[in-house]
Amino acid sequence: MPVKTVYNTAIESVSILDEHGNFDAKLGKGLIPDKDVVKLYEHMCVCRHLDEVAFKLQRSGRMGTYPENRGQEATSLGAAYVLKPQDWLVTCYRENAGLFWRGLPMESILLHWMGDERGNAIPAGLNVTPIAIPIGTQMLHATGLGWSMKYRGEDGVACTFFGDGATSEGDFHEAANFAANLDLPVIFFCQNNGWAISVPSRIQCSAPTLAQRGIAYGMDTIQVDGNDLFAVVYAMKAAVKRARTHHRPTFIEAVTYRLGDHTTADDARRYRDPAEVESWQHKDPILRLRAYLEGKKLWNGAKQEAIEAHAKETISAVVKRAEDIDAPSNVDFFDSMYVTMPADLRVQRDTMRTSSLGQNPAELQGAPQPAAAHVAR
C-alpha cells in the first residue's frame, strides 16, 4: 500500500447548558450538585461586581490598567471548582473567578493592578501563581509544577490558563510538548475569547479549531462552550482524572468571548463590530446560569437582590482594604530580590535617598561629603 493512513483523529465539542436554556440531561447528570450550582452562581455575581468596580476605579484614576473579566467567569471558575487544594492553578490575568474560588484574597488582585507587588504575595498553602503579564510564558511553569508533583509521587495536577493569542508563542508549544512527551499531569486550558487585543483569533490560528493544537502532541484534546459552566466542569473532570491517574496532559479549548475592552487602556470599538459584541451578550455565562437556576426553582428575584447586596458590601470592603493599605516603604523593592542581599545592593538601598546613585559617598575614597544643603534637598 503505497499511500496508507497512519493516523486519524477527530475533535469533539461539548455543550451542556446552551444559551437558549437547553440542558443536556445525560451529560449534565450529577455533574454539579444543585447547592454547588447556586454557590458557583453567587460567586460569579460577586466576581462580576468586583470587575465592574475595578473598571470604575481605573476610570476614576484610583487604579492603573485593568483587564475586564466580564463574560469569561465560567471558565476559570469551572476549572477551580474541579481542582483539589493540592493542585496548582497557573493563570494569566482574566481568571479572577477561579482564583477567588480557590481562596485568593480579592484585594490581592486589586493591589496588583494598583501597581503594588504586595498583591502578588501568595497565602501559604494556596497553590496559585501570580498574574502573568508576559503572554504565553506561564504554561511552562505549570509543566514544571506538574512534573514536581509527579516526581514526588503526589497525585497533584497543574492546570494552566491562557488565551488564544498565547497559543502563538513558542513557549506554549514547548510546554505542551514537554508535558506530552514526559507524561506530565498538566491541563492546558485555552480561553479562546476571539481576540488578542485587536487581533482576531483567526490570525493566531487559521485552523478550524484551536483544540487541534493538542493533536500535534498526541494529547487528548477537546473543545467546550466556555460560557457553559457545566461543559467546562465536564471537560475538566475528564482532564483531571487523566492527569491524576495516567499523568497525561489534556488540551481544552473553551470558546468564549471578551465582552469588554482588552484592558482599560484599550478601545475595542476601533476594531470590533458592535453586532459581534451584541451577539455574545446573550451568551453571558451569568445570564445563562441564572435562567437555569430559576427554571429549577433554585433562584428568584429576592435571592438576586440579596446576592447583589452582599456583593456590594463585600467588594466595597475589599476596595477599602486595598486602598487603605500603607504606602510601601520606598526601599521595598530591594528587600525580596535575594534571600541574602548582596553588599552592593544593600549600599544602594541604604543610601538611595542620601546619595546620588545609591552609593555611599564615604565609599568614594577621598570624596568629600556633599554639603549639608544638598543632602537636605
Binding site: T65, I197, V199, D266, Q348, S356, P368, H374
Partner: protein, 322 residues
Amino acid sequence: MANLTLVQAINLALIQEMEKDDRVLILGEDVGRNGGVFRVTEGLHQRFGDARVVDTPLAESGIIGTAIGLAMGGLRPVPEIQFEGFLGPAYDQITTHAARFRTRTRGTLTCPLTIRVPVGGGIHAPELHSDSPESIYAHTPGLKVVMPSSPYDAKGLLISAIRDPDPVIFFEPKRIYRAFREEVPEDEYTVPIGEARVVTEGEEMTMISWGASVIQCMNAIEASGRSIELVDLRTIYPLDIETIARSVRKTGRAVIVHEAPKTCGLGAEIATLIMEHCFLQLEAPVQRVTGFDTVMPYYKLELEYLPDETRIGRAIEETAAY
C-alpha cells in the same frame, strides 16, 4: 514645519518612508487596524493596506525571525515589538541571526531591518512594561542601537534607521511619546546614526544621557544653576565617544544618567571610555545616576527607581564638590 509629539514624528517618518520605498513594510502585534497600542502606526493600515501593515500572530520571535527572512529577501521590514519587556522571546533571533547574518555570509545575506520598541519607565504601566535593556543590545556586535529624546531626532533617526543597510534597534522612550511637541520639518531629513548631540554647552561638568532621562537632566541642570554641558547620545551603538571625550577634556567632570540597572549598564561603558580617553583631565570619578540593581518595581514605586531631578542634582553637587 509642524508642531509634533514624538509619536507623531515617528508616524510621519513611517508614512514618508513607506510612500518613498515600497520595500518598506510594517509587521507586529496590533499595528494594523488598531494603529499600535501607542497609536504609533495610526492610519497606516488604512493608507497602505493589508499587505504593507500586517498584524501578525502573537509571537515576538516569529515577528523578528520572519522580518529577518523578509530583509534577506530584499525588503525593508520595520517590525514593532509592543514593549521592551517582550523583546525577551525575540532575543535569540536578534542576537543569533539579525546581528550575525552579514558577517556570517560575508555580506551576501544581510538584514536591513528596523526593530521599533517602546522603552523605559514612568508611565504607570504593569510589570515588564518599563525596562531599559539598551546595554544588552549594545553588547551584541552587529547591531546598531538608537534612542531619540525629541520629536525632531526621532523622525530623522528613524529615517536613517530604515535606510540603514544593517539591523537597527530603534528604542522609543514611551514616557515622552506625548510629553511635549517640537517643530519638525514636514520634508524628509535624516539625523545620522552615531552622532551625539550637545544639548546645552557648559564648563563645569559634562552630563551624558539618552532617551527620556534627557528631560530629567535638563531640569536638574536648570535647578542646579551650574554651567553643565549636556550630551544626548541619540545613538547607543556606535557610541559617539568623540563628542563625549571632547566635552570631558574641557570640563574634567562627568555624570551619566540612565534608567537601566547600574551593574553592566551602558553607564559603565561610557565611564570606562571616559577614563580611557580623558584620564589625565579627570578631576573627579565619573558618577552614575541609574536605576538600581533590582527589578523595576511595580508602578507605585517606579518614581523611586527612576533617576529624578533630586538624585541627578545630588550627583551634580557631589561631582562638583569632589
